[in-house]
Amino acid sequence: MSSIPADQPPARRAHPAGDDGAGGGSGGIGRRRVFNPLNVLLVLGLTAAAFLYPYYNEALQAIPLIGDFVPGVGAMVVMLVFTMMAVGLNIVVGYAGLLDLGYVAFYAAGAYMAAWFASQQFEQWRFHFGAVGISPELPGIHLSIWIVLILAGIFTTVVGILIGLPTLRLRGDYLAIVTLGFGEIIPQFVRNGDNIFGFDLTHGTFGISPIDSPGFGALGGGLLPESYQTSFERQSWFFWTALVLLLITIFCSVQLRDSRLGRAWIAIREDETAAAAMGIPLMRTKTWSYAIGAFFGGVAGAFYASFKSGAFPADFYFNISIFLLCMVILGGMGSVWGVIVGGMVLGYLNVEGLSTIGTKLNEAFFDPVFGKQIEVAKYQFGIYGAISVRMMLFRPVGLIPERRRRRELEEGVHDESLYDASSH
């Protein structure tokens, strides 16, 4: 609406090779990536520390005072899965600037793929392929979870494309509403899907359980567990798998951001009209961001269903979409590292942090002072809402902003045109 004052630097600069001196390659966008050895060391160190977590987790929990706040390995699995979804959502919201309020739909679709292809849901058939830890006589379709993960990703990608094609033409808040609509319809479909012309597809409100566990069967050669479920270190193996999945997601996310496609997303985010004028096919590019974001949501959903050994419709409600969005906002839209931090922090609060903090607060403060207890965890979504509002009002770039994003916000590139180009 209002034009950019004349004394501000030009909104969209050209990007000569030397312009973005991306230290460590995290803020870079060009092909030229500068690897700062210090950063590489940091990332490697963090990864190693993360892999060893199951070994020192108990030692951390034994520390007086702060030990109570250390999450267990099982809680960590949930945190990693949600962080993976947040990184996936970041591709849609952060890179391409499309507000998706229905990401939970992909999570649900992934979880139900696992439920269909690795459980006894379809008792009328018996098909086994690479499934581990269960009797080969068991009815139902039982594929290896590794195959199911890929299938779930492909399935949600297709769902994402199908949802995206008619809706991505809409801009800004209309798109948000449509995605929200899909995020509401899919759970309801799942809930009512126990009798589709007499066919029990989703087992209704009861959900589908149990779901097979991952494992390596005979391929593991004694080193890797045959099946996680029967393994002595069940939680640790799920943890390591989740970590590997998250690392793959991060790797893909960073690679995508710096690819031709990723640069097209960012161009669309900054100025749709200009991007279209530069020859970027808007619909195709946007649909790809939606589809790829959906892929990671589906894989994460399928893995999580396998971890929980069930897919239940009560898990897929609107608040989850907002929760994931809040992770992205807290960390910084478009910033992979920020989103990881945001995801881990909020994931921790969600899994056990809030109830731990609530218990401590009740013991130390509310009980002695007011004589009553407050269930902090009950208000979790109010807290996430407050975090979103606070971030948007005072630090819209997030905790760890992406360099380029901050420049956009500071220089006013966005000024209306970012999400609201008037034509394409």
């Binding site: 008619p166 948000a176 899909f182 807290i383 209306e416």
Partner: protein, 339 residues
């Protein structure tokens, strides 16, 4: 770009409408009295949705912001009305009719005033700073505020349902050949119609209403003409809050409600606003009555009807279909947003 709709899309839309008409006629022939009774229920849904949808459409018209928090303000207002009406004024089913009506009117006025202030306050605290920020930022803030308001309701009223459905008697006004109409249904319309007339008068005939329309058309130009834009926006939010409060009270008198009632109802009302053409006051009402009737038909009719399990899917299906096929809504004008 003014996209020409492909022929098959129009054909698809037409086919859907034809199917809908066949379904309605089939139901009418199947059981006329049931059809009319359900129609009356639909009008009541429509009235409540309309009051909430107007709030969405007013704010969208002025700020181009989907005020997500609106549905939750509605729910909170209904619960606060319950406190006023049942706890403070002590109205029960045994109260004399005049006392009940007076109590409801007092509650209505107090709740409308209070939530006008609350809604204007929300705008002042949460949205005003973001007026020149990207719209995504304002939208995310609105979602955040929605959760905050919902949790305020949760903190005060916990997860229990509240209702005052017995206050207006459900006795029949008339019964004719299987068709009946009850006092509680009439009462909803008796409150809605004057509120709507007042609103129309305010927007059409007062200076402030004129300022609102001008601001909605072009905020910068309105400011240049000497209109106090900040005050106009505050007043719009106050108006929306008052409408939400009236809807909250009416809903309380007809249904059970609790802290999260507003989320789904808000989305339905928003769908209504989009269906009618967002930004258009008459459109919002038209959309609301359409959605209300569809919901009532879906839940009340018996001839090839999906049933209440699918209401939400149907409403959102309509929302998606409209946004995809006819983003300007039934009465709206084509905007760049949907092109």
């Amino acid at each position: 770009m003014n996209r020409r709709r492909p022929g098959f899309v129009s054909a698809l839309g037409l086919a859907l409408v034809v199917l809908l008409v066949i379904w309605l006629v089939g139901n009418f022939v199947n059981s006329p009295s049931e059809f009319v009774n359900v129609l009356f229920i639909g009008l009541n849904y429509g009235a409540v949705y309309g009051l909430v949808a107007l709030g969405y459409t007013i704010i969208y018209g002025i700020l181009q912001l989907i005020n997500f928090a609106h549905g939750d303000v509605f729910a909170l207002s209904g619960l606060v009305s319950w406190t006023l009406l049942v706890s403070w004024l002590g109205i029960t089913e045994d109260s004399a009719m005049l006392v009940t009506v007076a109590g409801i009117l007092i509650t209505l006025v107090v709740a409308m005033a209070f939530f006008a202030a609350v809604n204007a306050g929300i705008e002042f605290v949460a949205y005003r700073r973001l007026r020149s920020a990207p719209r995504l930022a304002a939208l995310i803030t609105a979602v955040g505020v929605s959760f905050i308001v919902q949790n305020v309701a949760l903190a005060i009223y916990d997860v229990d349902f509240r209702s005052a459905t017995g206050l207006i008697p459900r006795t029949d006004i008339f019964v004719a050949g299987g068709v009946s109409y009850q006092w509680n249904k009439l009462f909803v319309l008796l409150v809605t119609v004057p509120v709507l007339i007042l609103l129309t008068w305010f927007v059409r005939a007062t200076r402030q209403g004129k300022a609102m329309r001008a601001t909605a058309q072009d905020r910068d130009a309105a400011a240049m003409m000497g209109i106090n834009v900040n005050r106009t926006i505050s007043i719009s939010f106050a108006l929306a809050g008052a409408l939400a409060a009236s809807a909250g009270l009416l809903y309380l008198l007809s249904f059970n409600m609790r802290y999260d009632t507003g989320f789904e109802l808000g989305l339905i009302a928003f769908t209504a606003a989009v269906l009618g053409g967002i930004g258009n006051l008459t459109g919002a009402l038209l959309g609301a009555f359409t959605i209300g009737l569809i919901q009532a038909f879906n839940e009340g009719l018996t001839w090839y009807t999906p049933g209440s399990d699918w209401t939400r899917s149907i409403v959102f299906g309509i929302l998606i279909a409209i946004l995809v096929f006819r983003p300007e809504g039934l009465l709206g004008e084509r905007t760049p947003e949907g092109a």
